[in-house]
Amino acid sequence: MAVLNPAFWIFVAAIAGIYAIMALGLYVQFSLAGLPNFGHVAFMAVAAYTMAILVARYAWPLPLAAAAGVAAAVAFALLLGVPSVRLRSDYLAIATVAGGEIVRYLAMNLPELTGGPLGSMGLLGPGQIALYNQGWQAFLDRVASALSVLLGDAASRDVAMALVVWLLTLVLLCLFWRLERSPWGRVLKAIREDEVAALAVGKNVVAFKLQALVLGAILGALAGLLLAWQIGVFSPDDYQPTLTFYAYLILILGGMNRVWAIPVGAVLFSLLYAGTRFLDFFPLSLFDSGSRAFLRLFMVGFLLVLFMALRPQGVLGDRRQLLLEK
């Protein structure tokens, strides 16, 4: 495939936007409220599965099913969060990653409900291929035909997807940029810096943490829905814990504590992730395309270690607001 194939890069752009929304969810939980959620991927999985099951099996209209998906992710966040936001940070990390793995194992092992290892294709049982995507494709077609007035022939479904995703991303970023500077955001930061002090001035620490967790879950759910629509079919394997750490790497690559650094991080990450398949010089030419998938994951791990060691606040971050040192 050519490096300059525009269709590929438009696909990558859409993925980058989706990752930005996913990372924004983590930003609210981790950078604002100081909750190290290592199981963010669970919100994406719960929302995607709820939506796909309702559409494919019960023929719900797409907007309603999507809303149900977000609601399911919120319910899951409360289920996991009500008891566990009180935990010390490393215990919370372990508990959340275990929660995420429970979701993945259940998705894998409850084929009657989830299609099992086959994933969304198997939702209607063996022998039938289940689809959940037509409604979204139709929506994208309408957007594309509206766009063709402006763009002419260049307006395709993929262009429409990338535009829709990035529009949503920018709206959400502005919203949360504003929210961070509201009294609510300041309380969250106070809790992150010193929980006891926040308690002493009468703030309900647990309630604020739960709100942050739920907001993060909603953003995770949105990212999960968009990702499911973008890739068309999904299976439990798409919700490995690694996805959560992509989000952490995006936060770190951009800057741990600046909202507007998230899209920068998401674009950098996507370039790194998608771009490595085009670099064909030594020593990369030693790896075939199969190994390169693992090489990319190796790079994710390596960059996590490297940034945590040398620049934990991220490329554009602010060292003074660093909760990692606690």
Binding site: P36, S89, A98, I102, F245, F298, G301, L304, M308, L323
Partner: protein, 295 residues
């Protein structure tokens, strides 16, 4: 049904031995460095593949392969400690956890790149099942029992009787108190990582032979079981982890016994363990045997 109970008990003891041995290493690391080592599972993976190379490529027998794997994994754990985690100490719980996550990804994917994603097996004749009256023992299980018979008493002796083992337990229990009492905390930390790596090496080989086949995800699949063991036994408590490993192994296997309300379907065993982990963290973070205190 009783025969099934006996078989499940045996299986549970073998799973338990794996969790107990690896759990001891993980809990000492947790206690001493105050970090959750998310790369612990990958140490097991690494050991299984070192064993595979020695066993299948260089044609060494299993005993040599196990020893080699244990040594190599101990050195890898030591390198992690000296090159990465010790220089970066004081970075805080979350940063350190993320670093170990990154290290785990690096080790796992190097194994993926070098060895490939294919399913592998060590050279044992998997068809030679031992029939011991009521229970049957797969050759892998027999090897695992042999390894446990050597390793478990050695670990127990080290922890209970030697100065080194006592110092390890002291530092893991209360670092400052141990330092005041004259224990060289830095030196003990190095030994703890060597021990944790060696035990992970033993665990990796045991998982590989008991499962029969494995791929580079071997260690990550048992990581959370190891975490559950550590928390169940009380973080930093070596004896706690030894006991908790066997308890967890037995509970997981026996939960599928048909005499127990029809039994849980085996596919839900990991879910049971994860739920236990979350509930323990919430309601009894000091572990089953630990005393309540501020952690």
């Amino acid at each position: 049904m009783l025969q099934q109970l006996a078989q499940l008990t045996l299986n549970g003891l073998i799973t338990g031995a794996i969790l107990a041995l690896t759990g001891v290493g993980a809990t000492l690391v947790f206690g001493i460095q105050r970090i959750a080592n998310f790369a612990q599972g990958e140490l097991l993976t690494f050991a299984a593949y070192v064993g595979l190379v020695l066993n299948a490529v260089y044609g060494q027998n299993l005993a040599v392969a196990t020893l080699g794997a244990v040594l190599a994994t101990a050195l890898l754990a030591l390198a992690m400690h000296l090159l990465v985690l010790r220089p970066l100490r004081g970075r805080g719980l979350v940063a350190t956890s993320l670093i170990t996550v990154g290290l785990g990804l690096m080790i796992r994917d190097v194994v993926f790149i070098v060895a490939g994603p294919q399913i592998r097996q060590l050279r044992i004749d998997q068809s030679a099942v031992l029939d011991l009256g009521p229970v049957r023992l797969s050759p892998g299980q027999a090897v695992a029992i042999a390894i446990t018979a050597v390793a478990a008493p050695a670990v127990a002796f080290l922890l209970a009787r030697t100065t080194l083992g006592k110092s390890m337990r002291a530092v893991a229990d209360n670092r400052d108190l141990a330092a005041i009492a004259g224990v060289d905390v830095e030196r003990i930390g190095t030994w703890v990582w060597l021990l944790a790596g060696g035990l992970a090496g033993i665990g990796g080989i045991m998982v590989a032979v008991v499962q029969g086949t494995f791929d580079p995800n071997l260690g990550f699949q048992v990581l959370f079981l190891i975490f559950t063991t550590v928390v169940l036994g009380g973080i930093g408590s070596a004896y706690g982890a030894l006991a908790a490993g066997f308890v967890l192994g037995l509970v997981m296997e026996l939960s599928t016994w048909s005499g127990f309300a029809g039994g849980l379907e085996p596919r839900f065993k990991p879910v049971l363990a994860f739920l236990a982990l979350i509930l323990l963290l919430l309601y009894r973070p000091q572990g089953l045997f630990g005393k309540a205190r501020v952690l």
